[in-house]
Amino acid sequence: MPANNQSRSRIIQVIFIAVFLVIILQLLNLQLFSSKYRLQAENNARYRKVIYPDRGIIYDRNKKPILENTIMFDLMVTPSEIRHTDTMALCRILGIDSLEFRKRIIEAIFKNTRVRPSVFEPLLSPQLYARLNENIYKFPGFELHERPVRVYPYHCGANILGYVGEIDSNFLKRNQGRGYEMGDYAGLAGLERTYEKVLMGQRGINYFIRDNKSRIQGAYEGGAYDTVPFAGRALYTSLDVELQQLAERLLGNKIGSVVAINPKTGGILAMATSPSYDPNMMSGSEKRKNYGRLALDTARPFLNRAIKGQYPPGSTFKPMGGLVALDEGLITPSYGYGCPGAYTACGITIRCEHKGGGHASNLRHALANSCNSYFSEIFRKAIDNPRYKNPRLGYLKWKEYMNSFGLGVKLGIDLPSEDAGNIPDTSKYNRDFGGPRWNSCNIVTLGIGQDRMLATPLQMANLMCVIGNKGWYYTPHVVDSVERETIEDTVYLGRYRKKHAVVHMSDTAFNAIHLAMLDVTLVGTAVAAKIPGIDICAKTGTAQNPHGKNHSLFVAFAPMNDPKIAIAVVVENAGYGAVWAAPIASFLMEKYLKGSIDSARLSEVDRIAKADLIPDAIKNWYSRKEAQKHVRQMEPTQIEFKNTDEHPKLIFDPEAEPNRKPQRADTELNRQFMVPVDSRKKPKQQR
């Protein structure tokens, strides 16, 4: 009967309400008290696309672009859209087989799923692009996608300009919060690296909504959170691209370096190192392959010898010795030393190229004749200066001078990984001589740029700025100014706009040094470097070194009365400074000061550029590489594997690898193979 169960109606209503209450509680929990769902929804559906701006362009001093951008093309594939694609034709164009094709497709699906495009073949060569572009309609699912790439139109300055490359996890860690992502490119060397912040510009970020298969559905929130990219800013350098090209050409087939600086600003005019490489090799399609080859090259083309090559400056150091002695008031320009052809005051004999005849009767003559005795003597005067109580303190003062000249310290050029060279500390000598018992005689060869003194070509060129400017220099730098300079840039570039005054001497004292160095090119060791109509002040150097033949060194500035270029040239293991280094510097100065090289001298330029001065050890390495390549190219059946008692892995060339020591005592066997087989034959072939 109806009435008997009236109360049950209430129970049912309570159950209904209770269940709705549970639902509302769970909704409260999901929608109000758990923030993770909002986050997960964003992760699900928001696609963040980074818009890369063009990288900044680098100009030389005449506003010629030496590093700019171009468009290259990637071949992209969207696996799900491949239908009736002529795979064989595509494989033929790309030069791959169907196995490789399949592998790449699977890789693409694995990386980016089948509905999103992935790179199939990156950075197509122009020929490949042309062929694909006219046939692309035959390959549904494939498309050409443009990508900006760095180009170096003058094919020079690899070691200054640097290159960009994919960043690694360390880079990401160091640059957190700067918007980099895995797979991004950043400057890894040279100016590209130093000025990464300026060149990269500001990335734009666009947010999109994507669906469950990661297809873009439209802008997120109507693009309210999108940011616009700003192009990278340009760098205006002090480089002279023609001078740079000439310098690289002159250093061809040699190992060495050239640094040319504008003494008035400290701006680098040219900085060449050899061996080097065409910087375009490090961008574009062959990049990875080239990198492997260059990185393994025993001549180390990646090494920027202008800032990382450390050489004993030898005689080129002598003007500095004179400067110190003059500044300290130990000598006057008229001070003379009766050199008998050798310096024997310290019990050892330091030979001099000249003998008697008053070749060291004053500073000018001594410098022009590069008298070892004279500069040994004034070095000792500086160390044993009575103003300082003992040779250690005297040495410390001398070292202070050196450091203020920029020797033994990093100059602070705007290129990464500069080396400091070496002016030893007193502690070094204390260790060498068993305590502070040494005196000026023990270290006397420092006075002629030997002993433990090491300097980079950049430092040597900078010394020429100091002398040319009569006592001051600007820190050498490549970049003069930055497009739309910000405060941060101004702070950074400020260090290159500050004058460093290092010695304070009368003009007469400087004139003595200038005239002496002028004599070098007029009547002295570097007559070959003379350019008609220009007063070149120079100093040759022939540095003894433990790696073989002497290094050929040459430093100079010109013109004497109004220096516009200061230059340092080092050619490794080439012999006398006057023979190779001096003419190279001479051509460069002529080119820079006169705009072109006298046509009569052009054949000489050719001769120098073609001269092959690469040490045999490195040539051996190349020929061995070449041989290996041939072996690899041969049909496998043609290679005979013989069971010999030779151990190719144990063979090493002590000349090419001076720092490596023969391993253990099993070297009885080693020793007979220390000189590689082909290097024994090579010299005969050459003759």
């Binding site: 109806p2 008997n4 169960n5 009236q6 049950r8 109606s9 129970i11 049912i12 209503q13 159950i15 209904f16 309400i17 269940v19 709705f20 549970v22 639902i23 509302i24 769970q26 909704l27 409260l28 999901l30 929608q31 109000l32 758990s34 993770k36 769902y37 909002r38 997960q40 929804a41 964003e42 699900n44 559906a45 928001r46 909504i209 994507r210 669906d211 469950n212 559905q217 439209g218 997120y220 929130e221």
Partner: protein, 451 residues
């Protein structure tokens, strides 16, 4: 009430409870709007696609039009028609369901559809809900029937469960479960109250089995039995049968927990069903225990990893709505099609994402208002037939709403039942329209005694 006001209207509108058609219209509109949100694409002109009849929301509009016509037809029908033909309808429904075994069409793995002309399909199990409700109302309202008797209760249960069993045979478990809602009706009509307690206890025990370590639960049950014996120690002294009774309950409970539940999960359920139930309580189910999946492993060698993708995405979509929601057509999860089956079973997610907690709350209140109104209507009927039918409608609606929404917010395992009047689908919309408007018709004639 409303009937006084509408005196001057044509006869069919006399005595009609206008609140229900009003709520019906609102819910129908919300449903079409939700489907529109799911289907919406920025680059497609929605106005032209609305009239093309190709998209789901335009199809749903067509269904709604048909349903309104049918609703009017029902309102024009004499109430006696429903009582007179109740049993015949039931037989017809069962016959239709049996027919699916012969001419049925397989959609999404369940062979429960009868193809009609014009590409539409009919699911008899949906319609059978109406027929079962009518048949039970007809049976319970028999003048000589005493529903407190066990035999009457059993016959009513059989009436309710026959379509359910057929539905399970059609591999449409979700719809079968809906027939459980008739127990609410029977409870109202005098099914003993302890059944409710036993039912709840059994549910609690099953869930506890899933969540808890078997041994811990066994110890807990033993402890409970011990405490019961301690409390009832005087009765136990006087009457030993109390002790026996407690021990029997304990044995049954431990038996369920120890053997019955694992057996059912491993041998009766399909792997995915077991997974869904486990994922509801936040656990993983290892399919290698499952017999059916083991059989399949032998055949296909591969079993899919446990996957709660649907629930996860559904919860993300609803959860991301926050208090006020993302706004109309701005839900990223909806536009990205992250939630599978969003236009049918998971339609609630689009609402939750777009309008947030506020929107959901208002929406739930509309439903609750509808349910309460139906109960009030049922209680005011003079005839048992109308009352039982009214409770049937309320129970079926409630079951659909509760299970569907609980499933989208992760409180219930996923079974495919639609959200009444909201989900896309003609069969379901038609069923609920008929259910509701028969009630409205019966209520209009509540002064009559129908048998």
């Amino acid at each position: 009430m409303y009937n006084d006001r509408s005196n001057n209207n044509v006869s069919f509108s006399k005595g009609i409870d206008w609140l229900i058609p009003f709520l019906y219209a609102i819910l129908l509109a919300i449903g079409v709007l939700c489907i529109f949100m799911v289907e919406y694409k920025t680059d497609v002109n929605w106005a032209s696609s609305l009239f093309s009849g190709k998209t789901n929301y335009s199809k749903q509009l067509i269904f709604a039009g048909i349903c309104i016509v049918i609703a009017i037809i029902i309102l024009l029908t004499d109430s006696k028609f429903f009582t007179a033909f109740a049993n015949l309808f039931y037989v017809f429904g069962i016959a239709l369901m049996l027919a699916t075994f012969v001419i049925g069409k397989n959609i999404n793995g369940s062979r429960s559809w009868i193809p009609l002309a014009g590409g539409f399909n009919l699911q008899p199990a949906e319609l059978c809900k109406i027929f079962a409700a009518l048949a039970i109302a007809k049976y319970v309202s028999r003048q000589d029937l005493d529903f407190t008797k066990l035999s009457a209760q059993i016959i009513a249960t059989v009436l309710a469960m026959t379509p359910a069993v057929l539905s399970i045979l059609q591999n449409e478990t979700g719809l079968a479960l809906v027939y459980l809602s008739f127990f609410i009706v029977m409870f109202r009509e005098g099914l003993p109250g302890w059944l409710l307690i036993v039912g709840f206890s059994a549910g609690a025990l099953v869930i506890a089995t899933l969540i808890m370590e078997p041994n811990t639960l066994a110890i807990l049950l033993t402890l409970l039995a011990g405490i019961a014996i301690y409390i009832l120690r005087y009765q136990v002294k006087r009457n030993k049968s109390v002790l026996t009774f407690i021990i029997i309950i304990w044995v049954v409970c431990v038996g369920i927990q120890r053997f019955a539940v694992p057996y059912v999960f491993n041998n009766v359920f399909q792997c995915y069903q077991a997974q869904r139930i486990y994922s509801m309580v936040g656990k993983d189910y290892d399919c290698s225990h499952n017999r059916s999946s083991r059989d399949r492993v032998d055949k296909e060698k591969a079993v899919k990893k446990p996957d709660d993708y649907n629930v996860r995405q559904s919860k993300i979509a609803i959860g991301s709505g926050g208090i006020t929601g993302r706004g109309f057509l701005k839900g990223t999860q909806t536009r990205g099609k992250y939630v599978p089956e969003q236009h049918t079973d998971f339609i609630f997610t689009s609402l939750g994402e777009a309008f947030g907690f506020t929107g959901c709350f208002i929406f739930l209140m509309l439903y609750l208002l509808l349910l309460m109104r139906i109960i009030i209507i049922a209680e005011r009927q003079r005839s048992t037939f109308s009352r039982v039918y009214g409770y049937s409608v309320a129970s079926i609606l409630f079951f659909h709403i509760a299970v569907n929404i609980c499933m989208t917010i992760g409180l219930f395992p996923i079974i495919g039942i639609p959200l009444p009047l909201i989900s896309y689908g003609g069969s379901s919309l038609l069923t609920f329209t008929i259910l509701l408007f028969i009630l409205v018709r019966l209520d209009a004639d509540r002064q009559m005694v129908l048998r």
